[in-house]
Subunit: 320 residues, 2 copies
């Protein structure tokens, strides 16, 4: 009888933790999720993760657990196995998640930044399957990037995660918490889109945006902006167009720096790719003189919300 | 008796070709150079290169020639061994320089883009010796970039050479031949500096710039601007400051995308690093929130004009 190996992939975000049972070919066999409630403390959070892992692995029957991969909202320290993220996981500083999972489950455990994990998932069994150079851009509340070169994550000095989302695109742009003005995230992320729309309705109170938000400008988010733009609202359309231009310019910059075979787009903002892809294609056509930008394939992510946990599982599978 | 191996490194620029005799530890034993005179035709140019190789190798005495590495002004096709550069080598389209050198000297021959070759030289025995991640920025007439990861050049799709020098820094900037507006090269290269100074003297004919150029604005180049700035000329200082800000911003962007251990600066503009390094250090201090930018070592190139031919030799040595 052949022993079947399964791996657990964990996607730990600022709001929810998702756990998946993944086979060694990248097949997702079972998933569970729950709120992480970081503010209730590290021990409570780890307890919730342990319970989810047990519940999810139970679906495997008699298989052997070969290891656990974690993709966590950064900053993380993959080499030391620490989560170090008081920004979106309040109180989670220097949390030795790798050691704690190893101790509990007695298997190899690996940790990655969530953007890197999602990129690895798309490389393994998603939109960039097996390509030599895969660049991944996640446009959600923030704007995250990852580069997978021959199946390996590109890291920076001391294992740092490079943050292409904070490269400066327009020095006359808005200030960002990163210290710069006009970085990509400040101009093209979901937060940037929502902020521009919220500012816009002050001058255009008749915009569809305000009625879709039940009259409360503070409730305008990316989904509402996208919905209003698709229905032809002129303010929403102009906000989307401006963000799409900056998104496209940032992608052209990625292409200048990396010239990857495939660039994968994911995240909530990309739920309506038709609003953004034309600007991206136009920008790439304009940047073909010195690099073959028109040959870069820009693709929506194939694994959706599961890219992170599948990629986290891959970090273990590739060591088997 | 131990047989000594030497390698020939060739640095083929738009104006001159330089040939060096390099030992297997990166020591430069002899060099020769001559004008390439590309416009006199490919055969005449190749003849000049062959003659220089023979003359230079003769200095080795009885050693064996182990191979030849060529770093050539791009575009080149390293995989097929073609120089394909009608831009700075008029008439040199699809020139099979690798095959021709192999045929003539009966040794292995390798070809690289000149920016990549120079970066490899700095990695092998220069300012970034042995570092895991070395980013090289050459600021001359243009602005070239190269990334050396664990001793290997980062290439793009189909072996393309990424062109970080053409990433957009300021969409309100000047148009560039690359198709973009406000790319790094258009704002911070030697050409950009000279152009800004030439425009500036129209309004400030009393500037020291004009007298250093014997009254001919068209003769103002980077060296004259640097000289005038060092002597306190206010127009020259403002041109240098603006270019230094953009140079620094582009370097901060490189750090956001790559976070290398070492960033090496070379090229004519960097002959006066004291005019540019303070702005670069200030920019990196401002970008330390999301990446450890302050820990990136920004260093002047150590091999000067010989980085290209030493790096070209390295492409062969590492295969021995």
């Amino acid at each position: 009888m052949v022993e079947v190996n399964f791996v657990i992939g964990i996607d730990l975000g600022g709001t929810n933790v998702r756990v998946g049972l993944v086979d060694t070919h990248g097949g997702l066999m079972a998933t569970n999720q729950c709120p992480i409630r970081a503010e209730e403390g590290v021990e409570a959070g780890l307890g919730r993760i342990f319970d989810l892992v047990e519940k999810t692995f139970a679906a495997s029957g008699t298989a052997r657990l070969a290891g656990i991969g974690v993709g966590a909202t950064g900053p993380v320290d993959p080499r030391r196995g620490f989560i170090n993220n008081p920004y979106t996981l309040p109180g989670w500083e220097r949390v030795p998640v790798v050691a704690r999972l190893q101790e509990r489950f007695q298997v190899p455990v690996r940790l990655e930044n969530d953007a890197d994990a999602a990129a690895l998932g798309e490389y393994w069994v998603g939109a960039g399957k097996g390509v030599s150079r895969l660049y991944a851009v996640t446009v959600g509340t923030g704007l995250g990037t990852a580069f997978v070169l021959e199946g390996e994550i590109l890291r920076g000095l001391d294992g740092a995660h490079p943050e292409g989302g904070h490269h400066v695109l327009d020095p006359s742009g808005p200030p960002c918490y990163c210290g710069a003005r006009g970085c990509w995230e400040s101009l093209a992320s979901g937060s940037a889109i929502a902020r521009q729309a919220q500012l816009g309705v002050e001058k255009h109170p008749d915009s569809l945006l305000l009625s879709l938000a039940s009259g409360d400008a503070g409730r305008i988010d990316t989904q509402i902006v996208a919905q209003a733009a698709l229905r032809g609202d002129s303010l929403a359309k102009s906000v989307v167009e401006a963000a799409a231009e900056y998104l496209a310019l940032g992608i052209a910059n990625v292409v200048s720096f990396f010239t990857p075979e495939v660039l994968v787009l994911s995240g909530g903002v990309m739920n309506t790719p038709q609003l953004f892809l034309p600007a991206i294609q136009a920008a790439l056509q304009k940047h073909t003189v010195v690099v073959p930008a028109a040959r870069v394939r820009v693709l929506p992510a194939a694994l959706g919300d599961f890219a992170g946990l599948i990629g986290a599982a891959y970090t273990v599978v590739k060591t088997l």
